[in-house]
């Protein structure tokens, strides 16, 4: 197992720069997820680590060694591709054995390792089958088996679950996570699905337009997003944003539509500043006494919780309640955000300006 250091890495196709000075550190044995919208450069970064893309500027180090000019086969990494990339003309056993054959591993050793990994992944009965004879989940497991059998320093996963149906995806998510815990491997995993990122990662790197927006533990990103992009990207349903002004005198945030919302802790220098008020759907509470009036638009009860789309002044906001709400569409409810759990962002730079502390959070949860 190894650490992976990405140091001010840039990538340009001619004059078009698609990645700008990306830096990140992936610790030994860590499950790191690169997440971001399509075209943000996460797959490109993964392919750079693999050696399948060249680097215009910067350095990538695996276990301290600069690998910029090291061929993919000599980086001691294994990759699981989005479409699995199983060799169609080889059966499962040969697919898994191919990399070992390339390394001139003796045949008995190849057989032993293939059988061992097939056992771990529940593929023992499928070794003679061809990829076309396997289901999506089985192909996914063969692709992982092909990576595991090599016992590489680093595992790279490029959106490996995106071709599976929702149920199987949840199952495979747990399986990959369990496998990681068992093998203690260094994993770099790319996905555009923030739920996948939140549930699986030790560390999440959020990317946008070829830049790292924020890197940290999943709950750190959730609790203290560095800007509106991360705040909006992490968390489902997404955070609600309202634009307006900070009025420290009254301790309120005054939205463009005249709504007065309670402020989170923020330093006095921001008094009167234009800002963006962020509140996660689950941080609204029903407050019959002091709440703001909101008209419900859609009510979606899921049993364990209720998602309510409500019109709050000029804004439509999503509210998620852990309890069952008796309201129907078109009714008026009174809601208020939990002040300490809300976020403030600079309207000009979109950077975070409020200060939240985990103690405050713990008190409310």
């Amino acid at each position: 197992m190894a650490t992976v250091e990405i140091d001010k890495v840039s990538k340009a196709y001619g004059a078009v720069e698609i990645m700008r000075g990306v830096s990140a550190r992936i610790e030994n044995g860590q499950f790191t997820i690169l997440v971001g919208p399509s075209g943000c450069g996460k797959s490109t970064l993964l392919r750079m680590i693999a050696g399948l893309e060249t680097i215009t500027d910067g350095e990538i180090r695996i276990d301290g060694e600069v690998v910029n000019d090291v061929a993919p086969k000599d980086r001691d990494i294994a990759m699981v591709f989005q479409n699995y990339a199983l060799y169609p003309h080889m059966n499962v056993a040969d697919n898994m054995a191919f990399s070992l054959k390339m390394r001139d591993v003796p045949r008995p050793e190849i057989d032993r390792r293939v059988r061992e990994v097939a056992g771990i992944l529940d593929l023992s009965g499928l070794l003679d089958r061809y990829p076309r004879q396997l289901s999506g989940g089985q192909r996914q497991r063969v692709a992982m088996g092909r990576a595991i059998v090599r016992d590489p320093q680093v595992f790279l996963f490029d959106e490996p679950l995106s071709n599976l149906d929702a149920k199987l995806r949840v199952h495979m998510r747990a399986e990959i996570k369990e496998l990681h815990q068992r093998m203690k491997a260094t994993v770099v995993y790319v996905t555009h699905d923030q739920i996948e990122a939140m549930t699986m990662a030790d560390k999440i790197i959020v990317m946008q337009d070829g830049r790292v927006e924020q890197a940290g533990a999943p709950l750190e990103l959730y609790d203290q997003p560095r800007n509106t992009f991360v705040a909006g990207f992490i968390g489902s349903p997404a955070m609600n944003f309202l634009e307006g002004e900070i009025d420290l005198g009254s301790g309120r945030f005054v939205s463009g539509g005249g709504l007065r919302l309670p402020l989170p802790p923020v330093s006095s220098e921001w008094d009167g500043a234009r800002a963006i008020y962020g509140v996660r759907p689950e941080h609204f509470r029903i407050d019959e006494e002091n709440g703001l009036e909101a008209e419900t638009v859609v009510v979606e009860p899921t049993g364990s919780e209720t998602l309510v789309m409500a019109r709050l002044g000029d804004h439509e906001v999503a509210c998620l309640f852990r309890s069952r709400i008796a309201a129907r569409a078109g009714q008026t409810i009174r809601i208020s955000p939990v002040a300490e759990l809300t976020h403030l962002f600079d309207a000009r730079t979109t950077a975070r300006i409020s200060v939240n502390s985990s103690e405050i959070r713990d008190k409310h949860l």
Partner: protein, 298 residues
């Protein structure tokens, strides 16, 4: 109300029946057209095969060569085959054709596979320009370049050699195009996975890429073999040694025996050289169709 309902009920099956009839008639018409086309294509071959069992005198005495009666050999004989494989030593010509065709197939398969893969996957300066020029070259017919081709072959000292029969056709633009398209259809991740697994370019080509383009390769083998087998003009020009002449030219020469009609042996020879093509087509036709349809040339 009930009248309307019953009318509607009776109309429904009729509508269904008419749709079925339309489908049936379209299918029948299609089948008839295909059978007719098959007859048109098979007719000359069948005629040659039947005539090959008649003595030359019988063939020449047929007043109405295309009448039904002329199709039945009233006095069937194998003398034409005895002549062809006896004094005419036609088996030697067939062997020469086989050498030329095999050489051409091997050369074309090797060159088209390597060049096709390079054009599909490797990055090198001028790749697309070279490929465009190659495609342009395919529009130039052999007839147009016959003289310079002859000069070059002569300069190489290859006139009247077996190598001269197939070397000029080693680089086949159609074959390169066919293989390039097939290689491009292999998901690039497959080759990237192989690179990460430790394979180099040659290993990727032989272990990953080629096993996944076998239908296209079979198509190339079949097409190239048919071209080489049916070649006429170039062998006439370049092969001056009668002992190394190919079957097609030898057949044509049978027409020019002065004062000695050779129609019977001619039909026998024509029948014999058709057989290998028919056998190959039967075995490779399913790959042939798949190869062409998967090469984006539908």
């Amino acid at each position: 109300m009930s009248t309307v309902a019953s009318a509607a009920a009776s109309a429904r099956p009729r509508r269904r029946r008419s749709a079925a009839t339309r489908l049936f008639s379209a299918r029948t018409l299609g089948t008839v057209v295909v059978i007719l086309a098959g007859i048109v294509f098979a007719f000359p071959i069948a005629l040659a095969a039947v005539y090959s069992l008649k003595a030359t005198q019988d063939i020449l005495s047929d007043q109405y060569p295309l009448s039904l009666a002329s199709f039945i050999p009233l006095r069937p004989t194998l003398e034409n085959y005895q002549t062809v494989f006896g004094p005419l030593n036609f088996q030697n010509n067939i062997l020469n054709t086989l050498i030329a065709a095999t050489g051409q197939v091997v050369m074309a398969v090797v060159c088209s596979t390597l060049a096709g893969y390079a054009f599909a996957r490797l990055r090198f300066p001028g790749r697309d320009v070279i490929f465009s020029l190659l495609l342009l070259a395919s529009f130039v017919s052999v007839e147009a370049i016959l003289v310079p081709l002859y000069s070059i072959t002569q300069w190489l000292g290859l006139t009247s050699t077996y190598v001269a029969l197939f070397l000029p056709f080693a680089c086949n633009p159609f074959g390169i195009y066919l293989m390039r398209q097939s290689f491009r259809e292999i998901p690039v991740e497959l080759e990237e996975a192989a690179r990460l697994d430790g394979a180099n370019v040659w290993r990727i080509l032989f272990s990953i890429a080629i096993p996944n383009v076998l239908p296209a390769l079979a198509t190339l083998v079949l097409i190239q073999f048919i071209w080489a087998w049916n070649a006429y003009l170039w062998p006439v020009v370049i092969m001056q040694d009668p002992g190394k002449q190919i079957a097609q030219v030898a057949l044509a020469n049978m027409k020019s025996f002065p004062n000695f009609p050779m129609d019977g042996p001619l039909f026998a020879g024509a029948t014999v050289i058709t057989i290998p093509l028919v056998i190959m087509a039967i075995f490779l036709q399913k790959y042939y169709v798949r190869g062409l349809s998967s090469s984006g040339m539908k």
